[in-house]
Symmetry: C3
Subunit: 401 residues, 3 copies
């Protein structure tokens, strides 16, 4: 479905009308950004998607790096980041901490500059340590600010949060774009019920950033966001507070309960996903820092036992039947723990997942474009003008003769 | 020896006349491809080689990925793939399974799509497990088919087999191009005797895909292919059958013997190379899957002892003297086990290898161009038209002022 | 401070007047290069820096590789190399020896060619083994010579020394450019006192290549180079001899003492940095090759104890006060061991380092451009003409619309 050239031009004009102040900054948490700024990300991502489908090259950088720092495993985000970088013409360079040890403090300050002489963007995933990931990103950011201000760096690379302990904005924004396209517009999210619920998984230590990212973002559009989890599986309190405030401001609702069934009842959207209890993540962070393997083993055992008390928190056909018209949109950041497929008993039953599977792939498709949008909006003073130039230039991404 | 512009144009026209159906497909095994399709690979590779030597840029992709998955060690193929990708303008991104665990089943299906949103080609090496490598590639392929058909992926990435348990088509096609240039044409292969023989090596567990690839391809051109190996070192029966059928169809010959001397006698081409017995590879696959280190150790010991009974299977000056005019073309996929150089006693004597050494490098030179040709023919509906466009565009690969 | 187009053109003309013979060669040691050749590296680096700041694309390669081989850890040089490659349009491909075992002898010869079919530059760091690193680079170089001469390779990749056991030319040339800009010209280095001194560090086994690179280069410009280190911390004698000869030829001075205070007295530039004694590196090389972990442990212990006798070799405020006007330029290749910051007691006091910190970042900034200059001068017969073409082409590095 390549958009017509006129439709593309209209989106570019729409983008130009939004008031944003992201140039020479970072993209760390959605809650730091204004409504116009978030809308600019979505619009830019949609332009990039349409250009991609229309075979228009979006090569706007030449000879510059996109650096990535993955402090935790990743396939999806790694490839999304690589795709976004490549799309805009950036060369990817990974800072592998096994190859080149980096840490906190002085080392972070220095390394941030040393990897940035020809760098436009630094994408960071750091979600293992509660209270640490976001802090680390802000340390990198402050170092870049200084080096740019003092003329050491000719350009100010943007830090893009590829998942931290607090937020996972490239995921939540891709999810928001999926919702926008599903319901036709952001305005149509008003009054929709979105169930962000915990779900059972035979694993432990999953980060909190996905549910936190969802409640901290979807509450801004007048939706009714129902967070549900078993007792003791609470999220970072500060983010829960933010979700409440956003709901009030937007005329939406935000509730927290301990009932998956309650959250699912009449929901338009369900997002059932496992995560570790906040308190467990705090304890785990301490043990990880102390490199206490015995302690970590004991914690894992205890936590898996605690999870096992809630094996009924599975998204199955019966629960789906209780959603609006039995047809709620199922969402997941992938990979899901699918009962009888990827594990014995998990977050979602095989039949429910199979029905939604291709749609979760479409949800994931947005991520490279959302990341590329964040790159553009932080690296161009007027992204609308740049995109307009790209469209007028009209170079093909694939040269077929 | 840069080709003249006219010669290049003629090759492009020749390519345009071949009937191929490779667009939006894969390149997994040569025996799945028609004669015209194989000829198209050779012709495209020759055009790319000539363009390379003539400093004409073959940049036809912008902002797209070439993904590689190496489930086994590789230097040569890794660099050939990287060179091919770079030549066409693709950004390389490796899926490192240590970084991001992938497996069979649901995970393969999902991961195949997750790494493909902006991907044109996925190169896979998976040659450790007999009965598994090729199967894995076909799983990836089926997943890509579904995601493309369902509109999840805007383009259908091609899977290129960088060596599996059955075939090693980028090697055998590079070898075929080497033979074509050595003898002047494919037609001149008719009646030539090609000895594909086992050779002694003090190592074990070497894949079967090179000899299988050679007998499954060279039998298609009317040559007399003589496969020779000690008793108990047979290849996968199905591939041996294919070689027989191809020889009948092409008017060539295919023989299997247990005598290196017989195979070498009067040969125009010799390809002496070690491999593990089929039965050993089957046992090894079981042990690898069971992670039975003790069993693997015992098998290795037994297999090395078995190899040691055939230390006379060395390509030495005496054996070379028995080939046609004593001047057979020596071929090897490299690295060779060279007696007294890389090991005490190996596949080839030092004097024979040294005489052929630079020529084996020339043989290897074709590989990046063969891979690039496979990429082009699977990703362009009319590769001839694309190449014609490239030549008319006339951009330089190195801009010297 | 983007240079005006006229200033850039003048630098290009200046470059064109220098007599250089670097085309189709390598950049291994500064002492192999003529004065004009070193000046050409600085001038080219300055042109590239100015073009970078002026948003002029320096993309001069398409579809070619820059290979890197890191036989030791690296962050700074890795990113500098990646930045240089990207700037010129080269795709980076790392030869990871864990992924693909390479060694000396036949394997080096073969591998050098196998990774070079579409390669313009091979950057190598090999500084762990005294007597080995530089030798390895020359082996690679000889292999490339042969394959190019014999027509196996259509182009002759340049080997760039990213640090060996003898020299660290990308560092010393970046340092020289820093000095040139600090003092206004190379001519102004005449008569300046440069103190290259050992400094205490609670680590051991640091390579000798930085101090060797500095004394082997800075002595060529009429400066007074004062090398100082505790007894028993001597450098490779051959390089020390070279420094003496260069000083005589250039009308400068070169002295070796065992007093940090003497070296600092009246110095215009100080470069306090830890390194391991020559004899220790020889012993360590033997132990590393023998994989004698116990021996290595014992050596480390003994060496740390030896270091600890010289904890007063710290660059502190008192020593800085003794330099010319108390204002010597502090230099370091980074990371420095900063007392009370990165270690308890180290090479430099926290106050001295903090004052110089941003300036050491500026020093490091030159490295990607120096590497890119080495790439250009070895890969273009007339780099001046290429640069002139780039400037006339006038493509933007960042396309802002």
């Amino acid at each position: 479905m390549p958009a017509s050239k006129n439709e593309l031009q209209e989106l570019v004009i729409e983008l130009g009308k939004l008031k944003t102040k992201m140039y020479n900054g970072d993209f760390l948490c959605t809650w730091d950004k204004s409504d116009d700024e978030l809308r600019a990300v979505l619009t830019t991502a949609e332009i990039l998607e349409a250009a991609y489908r229309s075979n228009i090259s979006m090569g706007m950088f030449f000879g510059k790096l996109a650096v990535s720092i993955f402090r935790d495993q990743s396939t999806r985000t790694r490839f999304s980041y690589a795709s976004a970088a490549s799309m805009l013409g950036l060369s990817l360079q990974e800072l592998d901490e096994k190859k080149s040890q980096i840490a906190h403090g002085e080392t972070v300050r220095e390394t941030a500059t040393m990897i940035s002489f020809a760098t436009e963007v630094i994408g960071i995933r750091d979600d293992m340590f509660l209270g640490e990931g976001n802090k680390y990103m802000r340390e990198v950011s402050a170092a870049l600010d200084e080096s740019f201000r003092e003329g050491v760096l000719p350009q100010r690379p943007a830090v893009v949060n590829l998942q931290c302990d607090l937020d996972h904005p490239t995921q939540s924004m891709a999810d928001l774009l999926h919702l926008k396209q599903h319901f036709g517009s952001l305005e149509n999210l008003r009054g929709k019920k979105i169930a962000m619920t915990w779900a059972y998984s035979p694993s432990y230590g999953k980060p909190l950033s996905v549910p936190q990212g969802i409640i901290g973002l979807m509450t801004r559009y007048g939706a009714e966001v129902a967070l549900a989890h078993p007792e003791g599986y609470g999220l970072v309190p500060d983010v829960v507070d933010k979700a409440g405030s956003f709901a009030s401001e937007s005329g939406g609702k935000f509730s927290v309960s301990n009932s998956m069934n309650e959250a699912f009842a009449g929901a338009d959207v369900v997002y059932p996903k496992s995560w570790a209890p906040f308190a467990v993540m705090q304890e785990r962070t301490k043990l990880l820092m102390a490199k206490d393997d015995a302690g970590l083993g004991a914690l894992e055992k205890r936590c898996l036992a605690q999870n096992a008390e809630h094996m009924d928190w599975e998204c199955d056909a019966a629960k789906m039947a209780s959603t609006r018209g039995g047809k709620a949109l199922y969402m997941h950041c992938l990979p899901a723990d699918i009962s009888g497929v990827s594990c014995k008993q998990g977050e979602v039953s095989a039949d429910v997942f199979e029905k939604a599977r291709l749609d979760t792939y479409r949800e994931a498709f947005h991520k490279p474009f959302v990341i590329a949008a964040m790159m553009m909006l932080t690296r161009f003073e007027d992204a609308s003008k740049t995109l307009d130039g790209m469209l007028r230039r009209g170079e093909r991404a694939v040269f077929a003769g």
